[in-house]
Symmetry: none
Subunit: 141 residues, 4 copies
């Protein structure tokens, strides 16, 4: 087929993800940068909490881009391969954890990237963002 019908995260959906992530980071007491992108890897929403690292404003976006690009969590490839991809793509591939694809009913509709905490903290916050959207949709159904 020449054209596919696909599901695309909206700005409204992205804000639900962002809110869920920020709420979890707040509860954890860990300031974070959170970015949400659509299926094309373009930024929908972003927030840097007070006290989050400055450089994480860039890595959060890069992690989200990588998660949608690879349709997989970031930070899971062997290091040498991951670095090689980062170099080969002129830094359009994050090698570190904190990016997760956002899946709804078996379809990936966008991705979230979180940075400023450690790996476990970043992943927990990203996962909380995704769950917030899944919960919001379940309650609407």
């Amino acid at each position: 087929m020449y054209v596919r019908r696909v599901s695309e995260l909206s700005a409204q959906g992205a804000k639900v993800v962002l809110r869920g992530a920020i709420d979890r980071a707040t509860a954890m007491g860990v300031p974070q940068c959170v970015a949400v992108v659509d299926t094309g890897g373009n930024l929908l929403v972003f927030e840097r909490m007070d006290g989050a690292k400055l450089h994480s404003q860039f890595s959060a976006i890069q992690k989200a881009f990588t998660a949608i690009s690879a349709k997989a969590p970031t930070g899971q490839l062997p290091t040498e391969l991951a670095f090689g991809i980062a170099l080969a793509t002129n830094n359009r591939f994050a090698t570190i954890a904190g990016g997760l694809p956002i899946e709804l009913e078996g379809e990936i509709v966008g991705a979230i990237g979180v940075g400023s905490g450690n790996d476990e903290e970043d992943i927990e916050v990203a996962q909380a963002g995704i769950e917030a959207l899944q919960n919001a949709i379940a309650h609407h159904a």
Copy 2:
């Protein structure tokens, strides 16, 4: 709504666009670079004909990205404004002609960018690519 249903140009559709553009350029005797992107601005297919300018491999992609980004043909803004946008986006905006959004039944599903000829040649080739897809779909219906 949290998720939107959208139409997205497939690789197969992009190849029909590319074929139509290359066929026209061949008939015109003007070697061209042709790029086709999806709605997120990511490259689907590309071809540089023998003899096409090397730098046009970059401008063709940039024109396609700009056409989908702005959902409008490239090269139509007043020069000062267009240059200003190019600078403000760190060169993610082509100011010159040759990029066209690909519209099907009222929905924009991707874009084509053509470079290496003059403005008229580039636009004619881009338009031929789009028409090839529209014709293919009409014949399938």
Copy 3:
């Protein structure tokens, strides 16, 4: 003095600005990209509304950076000078309108950048964001 006491827009304040801007853009029916930065020019919050131009995700941030950098609205210098500054700063200076510093009680605490509409639309949305914050502070006092 070796150290100055300054006022800095918080993430909470930035969200009030963003909300005011998005509300105005929604009322105008013009999809926009909106970015808010702190006094150091680092991104605090961002939103791209459904339908806003992809390249404006970059120019909105650049406009906000430029407004805080110059402590003045963007797009007001003579074109040649503005382009010269953009080139001299490796594109860390937006030459086009849509960026405004955020002033509270005579002190600039951050900036907002808006892109995807025309100049007047971008400026109106940016101004609405600033007014939302000023109103919120007035009501808290």
Copy 4:
């Protein structure tokens, strides 16, 4: 709160830090590049001593940016993680030693980055810069 009151290193303060660092480097006989940034990571003062390495003009600034961004000395993370962050931030994160945050009375007000010597020399010079400011403030009190 919408606005936070924060302490920000002034140009005068930065010059005290720079002077202290350069004096130490001179006493050590090691030519250095020294950069001092504010809390937003923007350059306040810089000096490249005669004979210091040319590339260190860039790494000294990057180290200072990284130290304020992470609010921690540079060069302390495991190599793989540090390299991963550098790649994910498009080289806005220095992985090597020589950057230190400048802390005054429990508040971080800026950062210093030093490059051209070895790790120990860079750190010693950076520390001397910070101590010069702390001493100047103690004498003023």
